[in-house]
């Protein structure tokens, strides 16, 4: 695309990535979560594709598929952590340590170090959605830009 689009994309891309990371990280406190933040970051990948052409994303195709597998495996492993009780039992909640702080009942300002396995699952699913939607976007771009019919 033209130099205007490329310049604006260069300015806008870090902001969009940071916002996607924020939405994923605060999934247990504010509206949002893994799926929504992953969709935001995947739209940033679509912006890269539009602005810089499909050749700029071609070398990341294997990385994206590896990230998708990593996200899926991390999600299942996080579900299996609670297998002494039930599948998907939240064993990390309220016991201290990583994300183990308990919340006071009722409305509160929101504390990041709470909710047990939920933030970790948010990151796993976010990684999976970023990789999945990103590879769909990259595949469409590569297939369309090859030649004309």
């Amino acid at each position: 695309m033209s130099v205007v689009v490329r310049t604006i994309a260069r300015i806008l891309l870090p902001i969009v990535f940071a916002f996607g990371g924020y939405v994923i990280m605060h999934g247990h406190l504010t509206p949002g979560g893994g799926f929504q933040g992953g969709a935001v970051v995947a739209s940033a990948l679509a912006l890269v594709l539009v602005a810089f052409g499909e050749a700029s994303l071609k070398k990341y195709k294997d990385l994206l598929s590896a990230l998708e597998s990593l996200g899926g495996v991390a999600f299942v492993v996080l579900g299996l952590i609670g297998i002494p009780f039930t599948f998907f039992a939240n064993v990390l909640a309220g016991v201290g340590g990583l994300f183990g702080q308990s919340v006071p009942p009722g409305p509160n300002p929101g504390y990041l170090n709470t909710a047990g396995t939920l933030p970790l699952m948010n990151w796993a699913v976010g990684l999976k959605v970023i990789a999945g939607l990103g590879s769909v976007v990259v595949l469409f771009g590569l297939f369309g830009g090859e030649d004309d019919r």
Binding site: P31, G33, F35, A39, P107, N108, G110, V129, F140, R149
Partner: protein, 115 residues
């Protein structure tokens, strides 16, 4: 006083998507009809869980003493949205392949099992 007007709006959405599927011939427009039906159903599910005067079911800076809307329809609508996105991507991939092989997007012309 809204009565049950939002449910009627969701049904009109679904009917519009159905009409798009029945009347249009362009494959892209057929995919748009599919997403219209999906969005109507999602809107219907979210509207089912609304409580009169309810707040968002999130405790971060929630207004005290207010009833919250039902969280389960919202969670399942989230699932439904992602699945609809996946099916839309798959359908659009099919459309791209059909356009490559046939050079047309008319649903009448790609009906024959030829080529």
């Amino acid at each position: 006083m809204t009565g049950n007007l939002p449910f009627v709006v969701c049904m009109v959405f679904v009917a519009l998507g159905l009409w798009t599927l029945l009347a249009k011939r362009n494959l892209i427009k057929l995919v748009i009809g599919l997403t219209l039906i999906e969005n109507g159903v999602n809107l219907f599910l979210v509207a089912l869980g609304y409580v009169q005067g309810g707040a968002v079911p999130i405790y971060t800076y929630a207004p005290p003493g207010v009833r919250m809307v039902l969280p389960t329809p919202q969670a399942l609508t989230l699932t439904s949205i992602v699945i609809g996105l996946a099916t839309t991507a798959l359908a659009l991939a099919f459309v791209v392949v059909i356009w490559r092989h046939r050079g047309t997007l008319d649903a009448r012309k790609v009906r024959e099992l030829r080529g």
